[in-house]
Symmetry: C2
Subunit: 666 residues, 2 copies
């Protein structure tokens, strides 16, 4: 935390000077005096601190925020994009769940393709049309965000999606084989070689996916998946990917090694007790069964080594994936365990890659592992034994650099640029600021000490600092992601929003500047990126672009003169253009039972000239950005006259931008 | 507009006084001096006006907004709730479109029941699972918002929904018979006797819903629907409702008469040319075909008379609705027309009910009709003829009190408490402030004059003032709902957000205070209600409540001791409880092919202690607020072990709040 340049109370002489200076400086540009500001603050009942916070977070009309937050949406299945410091919600990106506003999953082939490909019928009982997004991972180059792609998992169904940061659209969903769920085990390796995702609850690795819970230890397995990324498109290539079999613990949060620890990955686990519940069958619920052991296991994975082992062919195939069996992982030195205090939650690697911080939610300490010590212990085979599956367990005392007592319920940790760590405390409803060790530039005597603690409201889960999980944190702004809001907002129904609180990292002590409710989602992990890093954004597509491929669509219709209807038997292909304020053709005549393929090109080239395309009674709603082509396929099962229309207000004659789908009875 | 009490530039003596005063007043409560505020503003590059705006809009952490905005979400199908003046998005209420976060349409019987009932298979080609919400109508008592219910239409599919403002949940969707689409024709009558909704594009009133466009004038019809409201539950009762047949024009915006004009309703129309398009068939697009006439028709409806006529049995039945045929409506004096300048958009009744303001988007004037003059013209049969269907057309000059030239593209009008009207100008990208006439308390010489004009960014559609469409506008705050944002926000993809701008109604001249992007929807009409009017809100349900009925559910399970599994043949009923941090039972054993009925009660009584319930691979996601019961029904088609879990972070051991659905192979 930097010392604030603003003294809490200025002496009168300074006040007078400042007032006069401001009056002089502002004349001619909508001047208001310092006194006028104080009057407004007083009229609205703001304290001085509140008035300062207002001025520190206000982004004037027409100006931009300094940072973006990419936030998981939890069981909304979507991603939210926020501006910092204004804390305005800028965009909801549909990912796992259909979204009518953006026409995602409501009739357009492109959206449906992404959703269909992301729901493997071999795995799911029914097409899955929602997700539980938990852990976003922005693509990185040399351990720093590079603004190309965003990966995010579906905790509910063990899937991962890729969002293209050119146009902020979801381009791919992959249903991970051999994996039923995935909580926080998502990260990218420092050059986005892989997106990693680990399973959460293990699943039976049996033929039919079934095994009774009495066979849990033998038949159930977890998995660590290393999904290879195509460096041109950002897409996941399952053929180049691999998995590592894990014991049936509950694998939880994860993070990539970086710089010093490049080539390694780290995953927390809990329920190493392998409790399965049974509270109505004479057993105890998992919440008590899973907290018996004093220690669970930090999984330490050498993914560079795993890559070699796979290249050598030392794997088995399982449901189309190359899987390194657990015994091979042990034998080849790919997997080690280190004890971690019971039921840990967060594992976060420090900016230099030297420290791995684990926060155990039932332990008051942050436990700091030192990567050099881990390497030494592995070399020296400094083990305290193995787990029931034969995985070597490193000696706790040999690998831990320090423990810092923070408070009750520590969960997640982020970093600044001056050797500080910030850890959320769920039960305390607070954030602890503390110092890392010498390898983070902290002098020996000041290392591993609690510095400050700030209350938040309430029950904080994750937190984020600006670029705080990269090799180069910015040391600006922190956001507390509070799970409960209780009394912080007016009642908007029995379901209360969560609460994001913006904290000024440059004030001493730490201070809350503003808060904002989360209106439509339950965010978990988020990342905060400098706005100017998103250099790949485009504003308008090349005319005739299919956003799914980012190439010219074979169905592009670039002029109303080329608009046409082609009938082949009972298949009708309509090549349509959209521009202010008409569709061409604006009458589509088909017969009951026809298959209708609409190919619509928005031939606008003006930014923001988006058109919608909706058909009443047919559940069709598309959104076409300038230059975009969408394809819509449906069966004309219902006879009648259906007044299709532009659903995105586009012009003074927007309401006249409509036409007729006529479905004539057979 | 009130004169601002804050002078733009204060004299030095006042500044000094204010500074000293503030320092004195704030000591001990996080004091910051006026000078310190100016320093912060300067450090962030804020002009004086911007700094004032920051202070006028900031709602400090933990404090509440003064007003709510209930906003349509357009083709998202949802409703958005915003706080004013902070402009924070407080809540998204799912209405016509499933929402995974709130478990609406993802497995819970209650959500599916609302959606299913709202999609009539006789009308729709396929179950409709989205909507295009346009025009919210808060329930009223004596013409003022009463905070009980919110009605909102689906422009795409001709439907209406009721949201209960006890718990902010959608309780009913009604698919309106004889109506395919509905744009802005929604209002409630002053005591919420009826929710009115009119059709937009007409549809064939034929057996099979089909008629070629050459038969447009004969076979197609519009309709005005008067949906009776149950005063206990807020639900629409189709049996007590009625419709009025209308010519096949495009009926558009609508508003209720109030006070002076109580008992009447007003609907705009356009495309009285009855153009049908055909731009690829040698015709002209609707955008040119529909603007040929100099005048369209304001529909003037006597709903009190219509009620009597229906009570007398003078109606026909059509698809289960009582319909007053057009000739009966004419004969009984239920329907009159008044000419309105071409292609009008907004029709808005002034607070006293005396003036009906129409803004024609292709005419620079606001046209003000006087209800007394309308009544006189009707009495005197002061007609300029009839339309092709025999509806009498009142003489334009006999019913218009005045016209005010406002600018290019006037659309919608709202009001304040001092006789002013505010009209959005789409093409000008501005809002015009102007005076009403003597019946609104404006002196004769000042009546019907343009007062002020403020640029907005960009292409404003609707606008709203605080309670500005009621009998008692508050005269505080105005929000411009701009359709295009263009350069106002950083790029968040090729689809740009819309732009809400908050305007200070108490400043002179009008001034923009803040703006916020709309991240997930395309709002149209909105209403702004004083926060303290929402007196019916509840924070926690009575234990065991089914929110759909607001009564105790027959499936309520109020203690883990009562949790049980009952099997009847291949039907399995599971009575489950949820509380921090376990489900009881936490193991559910079924066989492949079973029908599974889960009845889950959240037995928490603590506000905000919401639990989720999700089943991997089964597309099931429910949200249970404290006290709530949800029912979930599915077929166990897929064998395996599925780790169901609480999807809403609830406690330190939230991650342990899970269990197993075991589907054993046959």
């Amino acid at each position: 935390m930097k010392r604030s340049v603003i003294a809490a109370v200025a002496v009168v002489a300074l006040v007078l000077g400042a007032v006069v200076g401001v009056v002089a400086a502002r004349v001619g540009q909508g001047a208001a005096t310092a006194g006028a500001l104080a009057d407004v603050a007083e009229a609205r009942g703001l304290t001085g601190e509140e008035a300062e916070a207002a001025l520190k977070t206000f982004v004037p009309p027409g100006e931009y925020d300094e940072y973006y937050i990419f936030s998981s949406g939890g069981h909304s299945g979507q991603v939210l994009v926020w501006g910092v410091p204004s804390m305005r919600l800028l965009k909801e990106i549909p990912v796992f769940t259909p979204d009518a506003w953006q026409g995602y999953g409501y009739g357009t082939d492109q959206g449906l393709q992404v959703l269909e490909a992301g729901s493997d019928p071999a795995k799911n009982a029914t097409p899955v049309r929602w997700g539980d997004t938990h852990h976003p991972a922005l693509s990185e180059t040399e351990g720093d965000y590079d603004g190309r792609w965003l990966y995010i998992n579906d905790r509910a169904n063990g899937r991962i999606a890729m969002i293209d940061l050119q146009d902020f659209k979801t381009k791919q969903i992959v249903d991970i084989p051999n994996s039923s769920t995935s909580h926080g085990g998502v990260f990218v390796t420092p050059n986005t070689e892989y997106a990693h995702i680990s399973s959460m609850t293990p699943m039976p690795w049996t033929e039919d996916g079934y095994a009774d819970l009495k066979d849990y230890e033998d038949a159930y397995r977890g998995v660590s998946s290393w999904l290879a990324i195509d460096q041109e498109t950002g897409r996941i290539d399952l053929e180049r990917s691999f998995q590592i079999e894990l014991p049936p613990y509950t694998q939880d949060l994860a993070d990539a090694g970086k710089l010093t620890s490049y080539g390694w990955g780290f995953i927390n686990s809990y329920n190493t007790e392998m409790a399965v519940g049974g509270d109505a069958e004479g057993g105890e619920p998992i919440e008590t069964g899973a907290i018996a052991n004093d220690y669970d296991f930090l999984h330490i994975i050498n993914w560079k080594k795993a890559e070699e082992v796979v290249a050598e062919g030392n794997y088995v195939e399982r449901n189309g994936m190359r899987v390194i069996p657990l015994d091979v992982a042990i034998e080849e030195g790919i997997l080690y365990f280190a004890p971690e205090p019971r039921n840990p939650h967060g594992v976060d690697v420090s900016p230099t890659g030297d420290y791995i911080v684990v926060a155990g939610k039932l332990d008051p300490n942050a436990t700091v592992y030192d990567f050099e010590l881990i390497q030494r212990a592995i070399e020296n085979e400094d083990f305290q034994g193995t787990d029931p599956y034969g995985v070597p367990i490193l000696n706790f005392d040999s690998v831990v650099a320090g423990q810092v007592e923070l408070g009750v319920g520590p969960l997640h940790t982020q970093f600044d640029d001056e050797g500080h760590a910030y850890t959320s405390l769920f039960v305390d409803s607070a954030i602890a600021e503390w110092t890392l060790g010498p390898k983070a530039g902290v002098p020996e005597g000041e290392a591993f000490k609690l510095v400050d603690k700030i209350p938040v409201h309430y029950n904080i889960g994750h937190l984020v600092t600006a670029e705080g999980d990269t090799v180069a944190p910015d040391g600006r702004y922190m956001v507390a992601l509070n799970k409960w809001s209780i009394d912080r907002y007016p009642l908007v129904g029995t379901l209360k929003p969560q609460n994001f609180q913006l904290i000024d990292l440059e004030s001493d002590p730490l201070r809350i500047l503003a808060e904002v409710p989360v209106p439509n989602a339950e965010p978990h992990y988020v990342q905060m990126i400098k706005a100017d890093k998103l250099v790949h954004r485009i504003e308008v597509y090349e005319p005739g672009t299919d956003p799914l491929t980012m190439t010219t669509s074979e169905f592009a219709t670039l002029s109303p003169d080329d608009a046409r209807v082609e009938r082949h038997g009972n298949v009708v292909d309509v090549y349509m253009t959209a521009m202010r304020s008409h569709f061409t053709p604006d009458i589509v005549r088909v017969r009951e039972g026809d298959t209708v393929n609409l190919h619509i090109t928005n031939i606008e080239t003006t930014p923001d000239a988006t058109h919608g395309f909706a058909i009443p009674q047919y559940n069709v709603e598309a959104s076409l950005d300038p230059g975009e082509v969408v394809n819509i396929t449906f069966e004309a099962t219902k006879t009648g006259s259906f007044a299709f229309y532009c659903s995105e207000f586009c012009s003074a004659l927007h309401l006249e931008m409509r036409g007729w789908l006529l479905v004539e009875p057979k």
